[in-house]
């Protein structure tokens, strides 16, 4: 007699690629690690504290707002909140008071993500939403940059890190202007090698272009990010900046300066490539990147602010549904549109 087997009925396919969303998130964190280490090297304990506050803020917010009984599914475990938190921290000045960093992370998760319906439904990049909130609320704290140093100053705080919430932080640390501000307001360019390796004042994780590119290259190699987006952004910025530079070399810095300074690298590689808030098709990704590139140079050169990456990405996030609508893939064996008209008529 044959053995009695209980067979499971389900529908095909029965094979599944093993890579799941938490794995993707984990690899994004791996790709960010070198950038995080560089920030610790340049800004010491302050950088770690800022990153830590953001992670605690984001995880707490995620947990509180997705507790049992809530309508939202919790994504504490899948790592997406941690990625959001690290990215936010890397865009903040290392000397920012920790309570502000914490608050920024809470806003990023709650207003940037959960209010829209949670992971996958937000229109704007949560990290940049958090940062935009901080920039609007604390314009001074978020544009006060401390000078770089090396591991010798590890324990030195880079600002009024432990300022109490809702007090005005003091700014007695040694501050300096970022390369972009220097260029914009004083017309002093910064050495390219300094920009490449990050030994300039700036946000916690935005200064070292080389490591950011390395992380991006790893993710692109593993196919966890749409390489068309950063490439399209960087090419557009380079072309636009070159054109301006050729028109007036004194007023407009060359493409290298634009590419390597400010938040452009981090924004192009890690922020603009957030799949939730960017177009799905390759053509859409190119258009999206070009839009960001143009906006970045426009804001930097003709706007009031020295830096425009954050607003450029947020604006293009808003345009994503529109881009998606016009860049749907052309299906296999698509019938020419004339024919459709016929059938309608």
């Amino acid at each position: 007699m044959r053995q009695d087997v209980q067979l499971v009925i389900s529908t095909s396919p029965y094979l599944k690629r093993q890579i799941e969303t938490p794995v993707v998130m984990r690899h994004v964190i791996y790709a960010l690690l070198p950038v995080v280490l560089a920030s610790v090297y340049y800004f010491g304990l302050s950088a770690l504290l800022v990153i830590g506050s953001c992670i605690i803020g984001a995880t707490l917010a995620e947990w509180v707002f997705t507790r049992r009984g809530s309508l939202r599914e919790s994504h504490v475990a899948d790592g997406s909140a941690i990625v959001t938190a690290i990215l936010l921290a890397l865009t903040l000045p290392p000397g920012i008071p920790l309570w502000m960093a914490f608050l920024g992370a809470v806003v990023a998760i709650v207003i940037g993500k959960i209010l829209f319906g949670g992971l996958g439904y937000n229109i704007f990049n949560p990290s940049l939403t958090g940062r935009a909130f901080l920039q609007a609320s604390f314009p001074v704290a978020i544009t006060t940059w401390s000078v770089q140093s090396d591991l010798g100053d590890f324990l030195k705080m880079r600002g009024d890190t432990f300022a109490l919430p809702f007090t005005t932080p003091s700014f007695d640390a040694v501050t300096a202007a970022t390369p972009l501000a220097k260029m914009k307001f004083e017309a002093v360019p910064t050495e390219i090698t300094d920009l490449l390796f990050g030994s300039t004042p700036g946000s916690t994780g935005e200064t070292c272009a080389v490591l950011i590119l390395l992380g991006g290259a790893y993710l692109a190699y593993r196919r966890f990010l749409q390489w068309q987006i950063p490439v399209s952004i960087l090419v557009t910025v380079a072309v636009f900046a070159t054109v301006l530079h050729l028109i007036n070399a004194d007023k407009y810095p060359g493409p290298a300066h634009h590419l390597l300074s400010g938040g452009l690298m981090l924004g192009a590689v890690f922020m603009a490539t957030d799949p939730v808030t960017s177009p799905v098709t390759q053509r859409g990704a190119m258009a999206f990147g070009a839009g960001i590139g143009i906006l970045v140079v426009l804001i930097r050169q003709f706007g009031g602010l020295p830096e425009g990456v954050m607003y450029a990405i947020l604006l293009m996030n808003g345009a994503t549904p529109l881009i998606d609508r016009y860049t749907q893939p052309k299906i296999y064996g698509a019938v020419k549109p004339e024919k459709k008209k016929e059938s309608k008529g």
Partner: protein, 474 residues
């Protein structure tokens, strides 16, 4: 010889590459399943109308004898796969999960099981419509799994032209190796089949597309092409779904079948390599479609094998011949892991469309947590017909079926590449099937309602007409 192999490896855009797992059976030589004591032959083993029985219960039938005739043009006859006696014509479990009318034939073990009408069948002299009739008489259907009547595909409609004949030897489903075995063992039958089919189609050239994970088959086929046969072997990239008709056409010929149309609209006809070999054998020595090559594989079977099994052999008996199922088997599929059909009972018969039997164990069959769609577009880059499964999935989740049509739902061929790659474990293709079923149901209801309304109207009109007569009569 080497000029009969195309220089460059060809492929289609997008697609996925799951683990192949073909090593379980690819080096196993073909074995013939011992004649089973009973066969179950469903009347409905093909797409189209079921066959109609022409022999009754209790009658003696011979192996290869026609026992049911075609139930229409899109239908094929059925032949006894063993010599024996018809025990019953009754409802039996069918691999589709339904109960279907089936012949049950008890084998006569005293019979030598020789063919009923052995001998070659003339194919060079008869006119084309007669030749086509003979193909239908052989009971041939697509052996790749879809089981569409072969003669219907080989009939070129008025005003259309079949420039090329494509033989599908891609076998892109993981695990399956039956076509591989056929290409290694039956080159003569394949080339005779190609000759006959090219004559029917009036095609100028034929191609055999084979994935490069079967280089031995590519070389052996290329070495045996008859000098006068315009045929070329095309190595194809090993990628799923390379063997889907539309993908094969775009890989080999760099042309697309217009949406909603058939390959013949791109001047191409495609047949599975097993079907072609079967037709070759039929005309060579008169054996209709009564047996087929089946891969029995997967980690859940003791001895994975490639069997030549009579149509109608019971699944359980075939599995027992291969050493039986292992303890931890959880799923038994007819077909490959990407598009196969799950079986609930081991009492179902092997049918004409059964290309493989895949036994999956508990470590392969598990629940996966579904995460929200993060629009990562992995599915968009996998879809071989260039749909946007991400968007379709979001619409399906909120049951906006009608809107899915605008995103070309009906062009989805359900290959499952999107579900395979989705990092969020969203059952995309499964939801698309539901959407299609819902839309079909809706269309049917609307049609029925329209018919009802029309009938009511007609009745009312008739009543109006009758009224004056009645009054006049009064």
């Amino acid at each position: 010889m080497s000029e009969r192999i195309s220089k460059s490896k060809r492929s289609f855009r997008h697609g996925v590459h799951p683990g192949e797992h073909k090593e379980l059976t690819e080096s196993r030589l073909l074995e013939r399943l011992p004649v089973p004591s009973e066969v179950v032959l469903p009347l409905n083993q093909h797409l189209g109308a079921p066959s109609k029985p022409i022999v009754g219960v209790g009658e003696k039938v011979y192996r290869g004898q026609k026992i049911a005739e075609a139930g229409g043009y899109v239908s094929v006859p059925l032949h006894a796969s063993v010599t024996g006696r018809v025990k019953a014509i009754e409802k039996r479990h069918h691999p589709t999960g339904r109960l279907e009318d089936s012949f049950v034939i008890t084998t006569d073990f005293n019979s030598p099981q020789t063919l009923y009408n052995e001998g070659p069948i003339e194919w060079e002299s008869p006119p084309l419509d007669e030749l086509l009739k003979r193909v239908q008489d052989g009971g041939f259907v697509g052996l790749g799994g879809a089981a569409f009547p072969t003669h219907v595909k080989l009939a070129v409609p008025e005003g259309k032209h079949a420039q090329y004949f494509l033989v599908n030897g891609a076998e892109c489903e993981p695990y399956l190796t039956s076509d591989h075995r056929i290409m290694l063992d039956w080159a003569d039958s394949i080339y005779l089949g190609i000759r006959i089919i090219m004559k029917l189609l009036g095609a100028e050239k034929s191609y055999i597309g084979v994935e490069t994970n079967k280089w031995d088959a590519i070389k052996s086929l290329a070495g045996q092409i008859p000098a006068d046969l315009p045929c070329e072997i095309v190595p194809l990239e090993t990628k799923y779904p390379q063997g889907a008709e539309k993908m094969l056409i775009s890989a080999v010929l760099k042309r697309e079948v217009p949406s909603g149309k058939l390959p013949i609209d791109a001047q191409v006809v495609v047949q599975n390599v097993g079907t072609v070999a079967g037709i070759g054998d039929y005309f060579a020595f008169g054996q209709p479609l009564i047996e087929r090559v089946v891969t029995i594989t997967g980690s859940g079977i003791h001895n994975p094998s490639t069997l030549l099994a009579p149509v109608g052999a019971e699944l359980g008996e075939v599995l027992d011949y291969c050493g039986g199922l292992k303890e931890n088997v959880r799923q038994v599929l007819f077909g490959g892991p990407m598009m196969g059909a799950p079986q609930q009972f081991l009492e179902v018969p092997i049918t004409k469309g059964t290309s493989g039997i895949l036994c999956l164990t508990d470590d392969q069959v598990k629940y996966r947590k579904e995460y929200p769609c993060i629009r990562c577009a992995t599915c968009v880059d996998a879809c071989p017909v260039f749909l946007n499964p991400s968007e379709l999935g979001q619409l399906a989740r909120v049951r906006r079926w009608d809107e899915m049509l605008k995103y070309h739902l009906l062009d989805c061929m359900e290959c499952g590449a999107c579900s395979y790659v989705c990092p969020s474990n969203i059952p995309l293709v499964q939801r698309f099937r539901v959407a299609k079923a819902m839309l079909r149901e809706k269309a049917e209801t609307e049609k029925a309602e329209a018919a009802k309304a029309e009938a009511a109207e007609r009745e009312a009109a008739e009543a109006r007409e009758r009224e004056p007569e009645e009054t006049a009569a009064e």
